[in-house]
Every structure is written in C-alpha cells, then in structure tokens.
C-alpha cells in the first residue's frame, strides 16, 4: 500500500495546475458562466496538450492512462475554477461507452475528435419520466431498410446542443422483442430529426448545457449500434460507475478550490484589529473543511485506483461521489460564510463553487440513489 503519487502522476498534476493557472482567465470565465457558454477555446487548448481523453488509448489521441489520472485532472482544473473544470471534464460525456464497448471503427471515427478538443460528446440516457434511472425508457430504435430509425425524447442531456454526437440509449425493436433489449447508438448531431429543447439556466455547472433532446425518425447507419443488442443497459450502468468517479474528482477539486480561497481570505482579511485567521472558531472551521477535503480525496483516489485495476465496485464509486459531493457543498458553503458579504459577490468566486457543488451532487444521481446503491452491497442478500 502506497499513498504517494508516481512521478509521472505528479507531473500530470503539475502540468494540469499550470495549464489552469495560465488559461483560466477569471473575467472570461465569469462571463462564460453568466452566458451559459462552453469554454471552447480553453477546451481546444486542453485537447492539444493531451488533457482531454487522457484515459483513451494512444492510437485514439489519448495518453493510454487511467481514470486515476483523469481524476487528477478534474481535481486540478476544478480547484482553479469549478465551472470551467467541470465543463472540460464533462466534454467527453458518454464517450467512454465507445472506449469500453465500441468497435475499432467506432473508436477511430469518434474518439480522436473528442480527445483533440474538436468534438464534444453527449450521453442521452434518461427520460423525463425515468428520474435517475433508465429502466423504463421509451426511446426506441427500429431496424428498417438497413438503417436504425430512432424515435424518442431524452431529458437532462449533458452537452445537448454543443455535442458533435450523442450516445442514445434505446429499446431495440420493442414491438418484436418483449425482453426489452436495449442498445446504445451513436447519433451524429447533424442528422435531420434532432431538436434541442432548451431547459434554461441551471443552478450550477453553467458552462455545460443540459437540455432535452428529441429524436424524430432519425436514421443512423446499422453499424452505429455500440456493442451487441441487449448490452445497452449494462453499458450505461458501467459508464455511470466510471463517470461517478470523475464526478467525484470534479467535486473534490471544487471542495479544494473553495478551501484554498477561504484560507487565502482569512489570512488577508482584518476585523477587530487582527487577521480573522486568528479567531479560534474560524481556525476550527478551516480545519473541519480541510478534513472533509482530505476524506473526499482518499475515497475518490481509492475508487479510481481500484477501477483502473479492474476492480469495479459500484458501492465504492457511489461512496466516493457521496463523500466528495457533500464535502464540496459543505466546504464551499463555509467558504462563502468566511468571506462574509464578499462571498456572496460573483467576483469572489466561492459562490459559484457552491452552486456547482450542489449541482454535481444532484446531476446524474442524488443522495437517495447513491445510498440505495451502497446499501445493496453493504447489506447483501436478505433472506426471508
């Protein structure tokens, strides 16, 4: 057991921090956040430097590294700016399904664009009536004249409108197949029959668009089914296991960034004739925040480490996100409090860390869903 990062991991971490420091212009980011715009130029540069799709194979413009390294990036980017960091990390949303289950052709066609910062991807799984699950989706793909015809409406699609392609979870030929086999289909966004229904501004992660996407008689090539008929549900569930570790990394970075700002502020701000960092209660607040950040880091790193070793454990993944997301919310909330009135001003940034933290905690799962998943494993089979 070794808690040290490897030399190359340290280098990646430093490079990511340097990149964020150099490229995350505060005024520009405040403006993009305000206008709900994706940071395209920063993302492109990140792609050029190999920060996007670091876990993709090298032949597909990745670095052949793991989720652990991806988490290090999430942490570094989000600690500099939670909103921009989340946007960069979620730009490849859903594309891991191609990485894990796609054919060589799929990977060749779609992954390099994602990794190079030329194409955003979007997982379109959930529907308005399915909550956080996908068990009862209605969107379907029917085979007709050598093509798939896709019809249905997806809700809360990350990167909707910005994406170059969607990964759409569908029932396959539901009329002929009572077994409700599902599949994930790659649907390029320039096909006709796709409409985006803007759902308006969100509480947080406002550089990432989240909207409803309607597919009407969208025709895709027969080869665009990823994997086999009937694998869709488990592909999406596996994806969520992986994605939740990255989301935990985003939350971890958000918590760290809020803590960093709070520490800097209390050491600089004077009230009652002294630096406010001298007040015992504020010291203890900082200590409690630092403790929560460290806990989030430990479990997130562990979940990522195990994932990369092939020990995929949904309970651990959910614990990582639960601990990190609640830490991010609590730490950024306290960071606002420590900033006093200034903390409420957008200029001082911690307010958007708080909004982002809350959003990450309810984005693809909420507490109830995570606890349910952890309980399944913690309790095991119940007899009688």
């Amino acid at each position: 057991m070794d808690f040290e990062l490897t030399r190359s991991q340290k280098q990646i971490q430093k490079a990511a921090k340097d990149f964020a420091k150099g490229e995350f212009d505060k005024q520009l980011l405040l403006e993009l956040e305000n206008k709900n715009l994706f940071p395209r130029e920063i993302w492109k540069k990140a792609g050029d430097l190999g920060f996007v799709g670091i876990h993709f194979d090298e032949e597909f413009s990745g670095a052949g590294l793991g989720i652990f390294e991806n988490v290090l990036l999430a942490e570094a980017f989000c600690s500099k700016d939670s909103t921009a960091g989340a946007a960069l990390m979620f730009a490849s949303h859903g594309s891991e399904i191609i990485l894990r289950s796609g054919t060589g052709e799929h990977k060749e066609k779609f992954l390099p664009g994602v990794a190079e910062g030329n194409m955003i991807s979007a997982g379109a799984f959930r529907e308005a009536h399915t909550g956080y699950g996908v068990g009862t989706i209605k969107t379907c793909a029917k085979e007709k004249d050598g093509r798939w015809i896709i019809d249905g409406e997806k809700a809360w699609v990350t990167n909707a409108g910005d994406a170059g392609f969607y990964l759409v979870l569908c029932l396959i030929d539901p009329e002929e197949d009572p077994g409700k086999a599902m599949g994930v289909f790659i649907v390029e966004s320039d096909l006709s029959g796709i409409t985006i229904k803007d759902s308006g501004r969100k509480l947080g992660c406002c550089m990432v668009k989240t909207a409803e996407v309607k597919f009407e008689n969208v025709q895709v090539p027969i080869s665009n089914l990823v994997g086999k008929r009937g694998q869709g549900l488990s592909q999406v569930q596996n994806y969520w296991n992986e994605q939740r570790i990255v989301a935990a990394g985003v939350a971890l970075g958000t918590a760290q960034g809020a803590l960093d700002r709070a520490v800097a502020y209390v050491k600089e701000r004077e009230q009652f004739g002294r630096k406010i960092a001298r007040f015992e209660v504020l010291q203890h607040k900082i200590a409690a925040m630092a403790t929560r950040v460290e806990l989030a880091r430990l479990i997130t790193y562990k979940a990522a480490f195990n994932f990369d070793r092939g020990q995929i454990n949904p309970a651990e993944t959910n614990m990582a996100l639960e601990v990190s997301a609640t830490a991010a919310e609590a730490v950024s909330d306290e960071a606002i409090q420590l900033h006093g009135g200034y903390g409420y001003m957008r200029e001082y940034e911690v307010e958007h860390f708080y909004r982002d933290a809350k959003f990450i905690g309810i984005h693809d799962s909420n507490q109830g869903l995570r606890l349910g998943s952890i309980a399944k494993q913690a309790i095991g089979k119940i007899k009688g």
Binding site: G273, I362, H363
Partner: protein, 380 residues
Amino acid sequence: MEILKFTEEHKAYRERLRLFLEKEVIPLIPECEEEHITPRSMWKKMGKEGFLCPCVPVEYGGPGLDFLYSVIVNEEMARICFTGLAAGLHSDIVVPYILSYGSERQKKHYLPECVSGDIIAAVAMTEPDAGSDVASMVTTAVEDGNEIVINGSKTFISNGVNCDIVVLAAKDPAIENKHQAVSLYIVEAGTPGFTKGEPFDKMGWKSQDTAELFFSDCRIPKQNRLGQAGDGFIMLMGKLQQERLVCSLGALFSAETMLDYTMEQCKNTMVDGRALSRSQAVQFALVEMASELRIVRTFMESLVIDHIDGKQIISETSMGKYWTTDMVKRIASRCMDLQGSAGSFETSSLVRPFRDNRVTSIFAGTNEIMKGIIAKMMQL
C-alpha cells in the same frame, strides 16, 4: 395552539396583498431579476395600495397598524421570493430609525412619502473594511457651521441605487472612543458629493439593487442628524432586534414555501409510475423538515409576541436569526436533492430561493456575530 392571533382584518389584508402581488408584481419579477433593478413604479404601487410601512402612525401619513401587518407583508414577500421590492427592509428596518429617533420636522418631512412609496429608504453601516467589525468604520462626518461634511464609502447597501434617502452611520474623527464617535444622518439622494455605484453582481438577490455608496465632501444640513450626536451605536443596537427578527421570519417563511413546493412536487412527480413521495426515505426527509419548521415557527411566533409587547429579546432574536438562516440553507439543499434534476433548473421554484437565502446567514450580522452576542448575553 394559535400563538399569533390574526383578526379578520389581518386576514383580509393578507388576501388583498396576495391578489395584488399575483396581479401586479409576480409577472414582473423575471425582468427585474434580469435587469438587477426593480422599477420605482412598483414601490409606488405597493405604497398606494397600503403595503408599505404598515406601522407608521396616521399623523405621519401611515395606516397606523400593528406589527402583525408587517409580519404578513414579510411573509407574503418571502413566499414570492422577490428581493428587489425589499418592503421589509424599507418598512421594518430603515423607516423605524426615523420614526423612533427622528425630530418632529424629520418625521413630518419624510414619513408620508416613505409610506406612499415616493421615497425609498436605505440604511448604510457596512464599509469595505468594516463588516462584522462595524465599529471600525472610517466614514467621517464633521460639523462645519450649520452643515455636516461627509467623506467615505459604504458597501453592500440594499436599495442602494433606488434609494432617495439613506440613514447613514458616520463617525466624528475628533472623538477617540469609537463607540461614542458614531452618529446617524439622513442623506438625500442628489446631494452634491453623494454618488451611487452600479448594482453588485451577486449569487442571488438579483432584482435587488445592492450597491456601494460614495461620499466626497458631501454637505448636508445639520438638522439632518438623526437623534443626538454620538448616539449612533445606541440607536443601531436598539433597532437590531427588529431587523434580526424580520430576517429570521423571512428565512422561516422562505423555508416553508420551499418545503410546500417540494411536498407537492414529490407527490406529483412520477418516476417509473410511482410518485416520489411513496419512497420511505423521501417521506422521512419531508417529515424531518416539516417537524423542524413547525418547531421553529413556534419559537419565532413567540418572539413576535414578545417583540410586540416591547420586551428586550436580544439573545433570543440572535438565536432565531442564527438558527433560521442556517436552517433555510439546509432545507433548500435537501429539497433540491429530493427533486433531483428537475429541481436544479431556474424554472423550478427552488433555485431562486436557494440562491437568495444564502446571504441571510451573513447580512444583518453574520451568524458568527450572533453567536458572539448570545455568548455575551449568557455571560460566558
């Protein structure tokens, strides 16, 4: 047990206010939130309908009603979550300074228009370097013949852009004891040397024109001093009980509104054919929040009664302010979690109160300051 005894008149007033807000106010909120300012015409309408300054006596142009009418206005305003039309701030926080400490001339001069909404009032204590430590303010007011010359700046001032008068705290640099150096003044907008900043870009309170105020050799007549010279701190402390009570009530009412909404949403949102509220964990979460709100409401209503009876309840109102403003954050967060993705869009009725309430544990004295006050009162 019914603690607050609302009469038929109170109920009719609330009903009339609700209808007014629905018709004249709610449709305009999105635009005000967008523009970071609320048109003065809305203040005038509120005044014309009798919803500003309910407690100002008839002799000064007010309706001369009891404090329960203020409670009603604060409750209804919190329910619609509209911070731009900060009626509670105007009527129950700023105007009482003039009503309690103003000279007969000042009262006759300003109060009727405060009631009608022709005058929007603000109070200015906080400075860039004097937040929690308000006694360290550096804005100065120096007598020069029949005039007072003011220099300095004040920040985070609600109604800052719209205000026609500011109740300003400033110190006399000649007096060393900082608690005896502060006096209050009424400064009118338009006085040379008094300028207003742009509205701040904030997490919430988007329709509220919170701004910085600047005073540069700003000369006002000496008769605009409020109360006695050097009594500024005593006057500020004297009015903080009501200010904190109003803030606590706002937080409580907002939390109740969020829970009501969430309860409805959980009953009506079907996931895989089953209402969210059929989940045992969701039920317990809703029950826990409802229980806390009932308990806190009981406490807060008892404070309202004590306050109306003229009791000094500094410690209790500080406790109320600390508890309710922390509680409203917890409830906003938990309600949003229960509703999941649907609750995280601005189109839901949760996001604006989530953003707006975050400041309540900071303004009118942070909760750390509240705890410090309570500790002192407990002689710790």
